[in-house]
């Protein structure tokens, strides 16, 4: 069971690595050497670059070499900034992405639970409708645009008003250096990133709570003489948790891997997404390969974790497997 799972993970990641490799080396019209050598490079220079980077070797040799240096020796270096080791630069970017993501996740879980519960309890009323439309608006806003507008408000227009004067200039402040500065620098990015998920999760939770409230066991819980609060938390919310948690696992996995790219770019946070985008623009294949592998690892791993969580949260699933 566990071995099969692991095998699947390796298979999918290998597939993605081949895909990335093919996209960047075998796409008609794409020539990494030309990109590295510059626009007006002479044929001699181009040939030298080709040889230098090993582009004149067969594709499969290049692929294997890349994989070896990424996974075995771990000394993969960038094409663009020669000598820059890829793995350390990713590790350097991870805390930035994690800082952004964890804060946003706390925010979106708390707010979306509040919204979902409120909407479910006030079902059919104006409050419910308003919350659900707001949620849909949140889902419909491109995150980079929200970031721009947030910057406009907090960095320029109202920066001098008492309300936003605390917002520091764009960029990341390490937690270990200055916790307060870290917090201040990230509040606006947190909110920006969280908006989409607040809308999404609020709506999903409302739907599954309403579904739960139609179940017979809610009537039983009331017949037992339990308070409404306990019925809500221990029975309705608890049974809705499965959907919510699995959704969260998948989204969190995708975001850790660099799904925060747009938010990082808009707020000038040099996280994994930022690093990935820079590498992509420069066709810096070693960095691209490493970051994409890193990202897909989290996607695949979060899938596995969600399966485990499913079993942990729902005894019917757990016992069916055992």
């Amino acid at each position: 069971m566990l071995l099969r799972r692991l095998g699947e993970m390796v298979f999918v990641m290998a597939g993605i690595s081949v895909l990335v490799f093919l996209i960047f080396f075998a796409t008609p019209g794409a020539d990494p050497a030309a990109r590295i050598a510059g626009r007006n490079a002479s044929p001699d220079v181009l040939a030298a670059v080709r040889h230098d980077f090993g582009f004149d070797q067969p594709l499969w040799v290049q692929y294997l070499l890349l994989m070896k240096r990424l996974f075995v020796t771990g000394d993969l270096t960038s094409f663009v900034n020669r000598g820059q080791k890829v793995i350390p630069s990713i590790l350097q970017a991870v805390p930035v992405t994690l800082s952004l993501l964890i804060g946003a996740a706390v925010l979106w879980v708390a707010v979306s639970v509040a919204i979902g519960v409120t909407a479910a309890l006030t079902r059919g009323t104006i409050v419910d409708r308003a919350l659900m439309i707001l949620g849909l608006v949140g889902v419909s806003m491109p995150v980079f645009w929200v970031g721009e507008v947030a910057n406009l408000i907090t960095q320029s227009r109202y920066h001098d008003s008492w309300f936003f004067s605390w917002v520091p200039a764009l960029g990341y402040v390490p937690l270990t250096q200055d916790p307060v500065g870290w917090f201040k620098a990230l509040v606006i990015p947190w909110v920006t990133l969280a908006i989409l998920y607040i809308g999404l999760y609020g709506r999903v939770l409302r739907a599954s709570l309403i579904e739960a409230y139609h179940e017979d066991f809610i009537r039983t819980a009331r017949a037992k003489g339990l308070g409404e609060g306990r019925v809500l938390v221990r029975h309705a919310l608890r049974t809705s948790l499965v959907t919510f948690v699995s959704l969260f696992g998948l989204d969190f996995g995708a975001l850790v891997g660099g799904g925060t790219l747009l938010t990082e770019i808009v707020f000038g946070l040099q996280g994994v997404g930022f690093l990935t985008f820079n590498a992509l623009q420069n066709l810096d294949l070693p960095v691209i390969m490493a970051t994409v592998m890193y990202a897909s690892f989290f996607v695949v791993a979060s899938n596995a974790v969600v399966d485990l969580l499913y079993a942990a949260l729902d005894p019917r699933v757990r016992l069916a497997r055992a």
Binding site: E8, F11, V12, M13, G15, I16, L19, V20, I23, F24, T27, P28, G29, A30, D31, R35, L136, V137, V139, S140, M141, P142, F144, W145, E148, V149, N151, L152, Q155, S156, R157, A207, L247, L250, A254, G257, G258, G259, L261, L262, I265, T276, F277, L280, Q281, L283, I288, T291, V292, A295, S296, V299, V300, N303
Partner: protein
């Protein structure tokens, strides 16, 4: 209903872009107009105005005039933002719409083939879809765009230029295929095991007929449910690619590229970036509302979850 009307209004307004550019704005929305001027209340005002603050070297494009020419002001090239907004809307809608069509058709074919025929075809297709699915959507889209944007795409005799709208259309279409194909495969698998299909096969009804009578109508319903939601996702990803300047290429516009143009003017002429964003939000919101409505109407148990 409101959503549908809203969508139609937006689409019609965008279709009227050439009319607007010719009759109302009176300038070419694709050519820079740095030294031009515009008459406001009988006074000639330069489109690019000298900066009064700071060192006074730079220029700032004219702000919103709230009338005919330069209704929403100009961008850094002195182009009429309102006219570009309408043209850009055309592109955004065309890209998202055609990509949706392609995604749904390809996904339906893959899903049906994998689900209905099973065996090694299913194994190969499912694995491929698994790999695509585990590839983070944005990374895949950006990777494909970055590679093709420089030189275009050459497939045998067919060359797609780097400024062609076909590039973003194909890329966006491909990216969401697994998200639709996987549920459709599941649905077909489930249908194949239902008793009426088993009975039909037992009676010797040919496969083609089962496919046509039992499978296709069910899959069609799913596709209709997915259509508006897929298009909403496509709108968002198109704008993101264009915002990163790897989608629609200048001098063509899309709502994403206008936001990008507006980025450098964010603090002086914020409307340039805000207006296309509002257009995106309204369109995507309408699509999402429509999607909810369609799903409630066709799939009351709302089992199809797209994420």
């Amino acid at each position: 209903m409101v959503a549908l009307v809203g969508l139609l209004v937006i689409a019609l307004a965008c279709l009227a872009a050439p009319l607007y550019a010719a009759r109302v704005s009176g300038t070419d929305p694709f050519a820079s107009n740095i030294s031009g001027s515009v008459s406001i209340d009988g006074q000639d005002v330069a489109v690019m105005q000298a900066e009064t603050e700071g060192l006074g070297f730079g220029t700032t494009p004219i702000g919103p005039t709230w009338r005919g020419p330069y209704f929403l002001g100009a961008d850094t090239q002195g182009r009429d933002v309102m006219a570009r907004l309408l043209y850009g809307g055309q592109n955004s809608l065309i890209i998202a719409g055609s990509a949706t069509l392609i995604t749904l058709v390809v996904a339906a074919v893959l899903g049906i083939v994998a689900g209905f025929f099973g065996g090694w075809i299913d194994i190969v297709l499912s694995r491929l879809l698994d790999i695509l699915w585990a590839f983070p959507v944005f990374l895949l889209a950006i990777s494909l765009s970055v590679v093709t944007i420089g030189h275009g795409l050459v497939i045998g005799p067919v060359t797609i230029g780097s400024d062609s709208l076909l590039l973003p259309i194909l890329i966006i279409a491909l990216v969401y295929v697994p998200y639709v194909a996987r549920p459709i495969r599941g649905q077909v698998l489930q249908l194949r095991r239902t008793e009426f299909v088993l009975a039909a096969r037992g009676l010797g009804v040919p496969r083609g007929r089962i496919l046509r009578v039992d499978v296709l109508p069910n899959v069609a319903t799913t596709l209709i449910v997915f259509a508006p939601l897929t298009m909403a996702l496509n709108m968002i990803i198109e704008s993101a690619l264009s915002f990163l300047s790897i989608g629609v290429q200048s001098p063509q516009a899309s709502w994403g590229t206008i936001i990008e143009d507006g980025q450098s003017l964010l603090y002086t002429r914020p409307l340039v970036a805000i207006a296309p964003g509002v257009a995106i939000v309204l369109t995507v919101l309408a699509l999402n509302v429509l999607g909810d409505g369609v799903r409630d109407a066709l799939d009351p148990r709302a089992k199809l979850k797209m994420r």
